[in-house]
Symmetry: C2
Subunit: 356 residues, 2 copies
């Protein structure tokens, strides 16, 4: 990308770095984040966003609780980790990667604590774990890109919703990874990007990211998706995910379900690209996913000035759920699940060691 | 409404008045329009919008060409009318009511010219014709409201797109008319309003208009339409139209086709409410409708500040076409066309004297 989306600078006393995505595409500002509360706030206000990137941010966020250690012992450090996990878990409710990363950090902390000679070593080993989450995410993105690129032919046009690109991960993205890999294979793939109201991640992030990477991108408003499909401009839809249930229902940015329904009505394949950390095997289907509802101002004053009458009632769910029956395939780093259902999702998770 | 959307003040030397809809909902400014070029510009920049209101504005616009008459004779006045019609016809390409009203004014002018003793009388009679268009539109709205209200039961929730309310007509609106009439009958009907990007007519106009009229309205972004249908919140969709082809295909604000497709996928009835002046019997189907494409800035800088990267490619069709097969019924002032097709549309137009 040429910019760092999420990273850690220095040793265990260092700090997290992240690109402030609320300022894109007009400003490219790197934030230095050095305490847990600040990381919580960055996640909450969407300075860092995208399910996989939130997972990586959560890992580094836990490490931030240990950078000011001085005379504490390992048990005291473990308490800090537990408190950091509890705080970070309250930042956003929907993306499961957040909870997955916090759980992984917490379990690791508890597992290594007894064997750590001192708190510094404990902090070092937790930073290694957070770095591992980051590294594994980058590798997963690359692998999803390779598997997803097999679904794309030269000359195809893909519609995407929200941003599930490099800006949403520690690597080359999820939904956009196949497009980058296809490009590196010499395939010419064009993209239509839904602007993705209310927060315009498509306009602000996806259009900017694809432009930066030399991919031909056309920006449309969300309500044009049906029209461009009707006009025969779209060969495939590819989106990311914030949580995937055991039956294959996909929770993703609000508007994804509309796009999936429109794609089905036009016989256009609808693909989801998401790492294994996005699957939540504890829930059978989408009805069990808690959908974050955000403040009305995102709709009524989303562009800095008021565009709706004062006092108007709004409904602002940040996500929706696309039933598995509308999903042609889910691309993961461990393989592609075609026409997903409980048996196929479980089989993949089991073969990847992610299910009991 | 308590405000005048489009009107004429004074005798044939008077001027048109219109509510500047680009400033709503924050400012309620009445514009005085006194020459043809200004009316053309008002239509073009959407100060007046909505297919029926544009028709009324076009009628008054023609009259504006005659208010400065002094020593001209009737043939010279007729030339002015012809020039006004030519100019106004270039304001916007899609809404057929514009061309219908201009054609009606022109034919009337040519018909009465030989019998007019002088240019003043000619101007007076043309103003009467423009007033008749205005009056007939108001009556048509009321009648459509009555017929449409029969489709609504107490407690229903309706989703609408764009603004086809009082602000779009010289009366109580088209799509919103049934809701107003239902309310006057004591039925409690709630509305979800799509904000309707890029120009936010739903947020700026429909939410404001319904709030003003005491109707419970919830504002959502366009991409939430699928989700609210999925959640069972919507009992019916009602929209207006800018042009309806002989087979019943409906051209309306961009995004209408997406909403219609989503409604079909959820088994929710999709209704169109439009006066006979919206039908274009010369074209068989929607593929013959010229769709206005507007400037990229409506997408990239729609809210006063830039929200997309500089130089990004956009696609900005202002309208789309909903095939007749997705339309449960079209409500006109002359009756309701259920499951519209060429035979049923033609039958209604013929019985109303609008076809051959």
């Amino acid at each position: 990308m040429g910019v760092r989306v999420i990273d850690w600078e220095g040793d265990w006393r260092g700090h997290a770095l992240l690109l402030d995505q609320t300022l894109l595409p007009l400003e490219c500002v790197e934030l230095s984040v050095s305490d847990v509360q600040s990381m919580h706030d960055c996640i909450r206000r969407l300075a860092v966003r995208g399910a996989p990137a939130i997972g990586v941010a959560a890992g580094f966020g836990v490490c931030l609780s240990l950078r000011t250690l001085s005379t504490e012992n390992v048990s005291q450090a473990l308490v800090r980790v537990e408190q950091a996990c509890a705080l970070l878990a309250r930042s956003r409710p929907t993306a499961v990667n957040l909870f997955w990363a916090l759980e992984r950090m917490l379990q690791h902390a508890r597992a290594i604590a007894p064997a750590c000679e001192n708190a510094v070593r404990f902090a070092q080993r937790l930073l290694e774990e957070a770095r591992a989450i980051q590294r594994e995410d980058a590798a997963a993105c690359q692998r999803m890109g390779e598997l997803g690129a097999e679904l794309l032919r030269d000359g195809m046009t893909v519609l995407t919703h929200c941003n599930a690109g490099a800006l949403a991960t520690a690597g080359v993205g999820t939904a956009l990874a196949p497009i980058y890999v296809a490009k590196s294979q010499g395939k010419h793939v064009r993209v239509y990007a839904d602007e993705t109201r209310p927060l315009l991640q498509g306009a602000r992030l996806t259009a900017w990211e694809l432009q930066t990477q030399g991919i031909e991108v056309t920006l449309i408003t969300d309500n044009m998706a049906g029209r461009v499909m009707f006009e025969g401009r779209i060969d495939a839809v590819i989106v990311g995910a914030d949580r995937i249930a055991r039956h294959g229902d996909v929770c993703n940015k609000i508007g994804t379900y509309s796009v999936a329904t429109l794609a089905a009505a036009h016989g256009i394949p609808f693909y989801v690209v998401a790492p294994l950390s996005t699957f939540d095997a504890r829930i059978p289907d989408g009805s069990h996913i808690h959908i974050e509802e955000r403040q009305p101002e995102e709709i009524t004053e989303g562009f800095g000035r008021r565009t709706a009458p004062p006092g108007v009632r709004t409904y602002n769910p940040a996500f929706d759920v696309t039933p598995a029956r509308l999903v042609r395939a889910i691309v993961t780093e461990a393989g592609v699940i075609h026409t997903p259902d409980e048996a196929r999702v479980s089989a993949l998770l089991r073969s990847a060691g992610r299910l009991g």
